[in-house]
């Protein structure tokens, strides 16, 4: 098997690009440029001291891997900075997508386990309301963002087709996820509506997944490029 010594730096560049893409500027751009410079310096230092490129690449990969928790903590910390709520209202799909990715597997696991895992019942007392609150927050956020968009108080976020597909899927997923939550209450008249909503959610989630996979494929094609 042929080694690809520059693969870790490419993956590092990809990871940095991912977690800084929606970070507030100029912090995101500064972080990308700093890591880019760091990668260059480390590879140059390794070349000067005669270290094998594969070993240097592995060392860079290790440095990145060990720093992932700090990267995530830094990125979450940037959300506390001024102006972030305005930014998210102008780009609602980022936060809604994050919330849904968090909500969907958790609520699905709860639903699947409710019948058989009796030990889960106490946890459900906490988790179900928590998920419901998060879902309501997502809906409220979507409503505010939609209202602002309709009132043209924020600039229409320009995006390519893939971005619009993702936004449309998120917009449909939010209410359909909430409607599907009615299933939990076993209310007869609402069961058909809930089933329909759940099916709609499945379709929208599929569209969302396709959009995300398409985006990842597009990113993979230029994975080798370091940020300029």
């Amino acid at each position: 098997m042929t080694a690809r010594p520059n693969r870790p730096p490419r993956l590092v560049a990809w990871w940095v690009e991912r977690y800084t893409a929606t970070a507030p500027e100029p912090d995101g751009a500064d972080r990308r440029a700093e890591v880019h410079s760091d990668l260059h310096e480390q590879l140059a230092a390794a070349a000067r001291s005669g270290v094998a490129s594969r070993r240097a690449a592995m060392a860079i990969g290790g440095r990145t891997l060990r720093g992932v928790p700090a990267d995530i903590a830094w990125r979450l910390g940037t959300e506390m900075r001024p102006g972030r709520l305005e930014w998210h209202l102008a780009h609602p799909s980022v936060l809604l997508g994050f919330l849904l990715v968090l909500l969907v597997p958790t609520s699905t696991m709860l639903d699947a386990a409710q019948g058989s895992a009796t030990w889960l019942a106490p946890a459900s007392v906490v988790l179900v309301p928590l998920l419901s609150i998060l879902g309501c927050c997502a809906l409220g956020f979507a409503a505010v963002a939609a209202g602002r968009f309709l009132l043209r108080r924020s600039a229409r976020p320009g995006a390519r087709g893939r971005g619009w597909l993702r936004r449309a899927a998120v917009c449909w997923m939010s209410p359909s996820w909430a409607a599907a939550g009615l299933w939990r209450f076993d209310a007869e008249p609402l069961e058909a509506v809930a089933a329909l909503a759940w099916a709609g959610f499945g379709v929208a989630f599929l569209v969302y997944a396709v959009a995300i996979v398409g985006h990842l494929c597009a990113r993979f094609l230029d994975l080798g490029k370091l940020p300029s």
Partner: protein, 114 residues
């Protein structure tokens, strides 16, 4: 994960200040700082990117360090990306001498210092 007490320097922050102060007034950039913090250890012992740059960002926001981007032409002449150089501020020197910040850092409450 280290949970910090407000106003107290972490060991990493103290080390960063010491290295930056030793390189004053030229300043120190990220990779050189990582090398000095490792104390000549092997490359796989260098501090992680995330840990280093998160600490630098936090210290810059707390006013302990000042950061400047190198001139693009100088970097291009040497065929490398621009470096971001960090220098210790007066507040950083004071914090290093006293072992802590005089006042707790006010994070995320205004525009970041340069």
């Amino acid at each position: 994960m280290v949970f910090r007490r407000q106003g107290i320097l972490l060991p990493l922050e103290r080390s960063i200040l010491e290295v930056a102060l030793a390189n004053d007034p030229v300043g120190v950039y990220g990779f050189a700082l990582a090398q000095e913090l490792a104390g000549g250890a092997k490359a796989d012992r260098l501090i992680a990117h995330g840990t280093l740059y998160k600490a630098l960002d936090r210290m810059r926001r707390a006013g302990l360090l000042a950061a400047t981007w190198e001139d693009g032409d100088a970097a291009a002449a040497e065929g490398r990306p621009r470096r971001r150089t960090y220098r210790v501020t007066a507040q950083g020197v004071h914090a290093l001498a006293t072992g802590g910040l005089e006042t707790p850092p006010r994070r995320h409450l205004g525009p970041a210092p340069a």
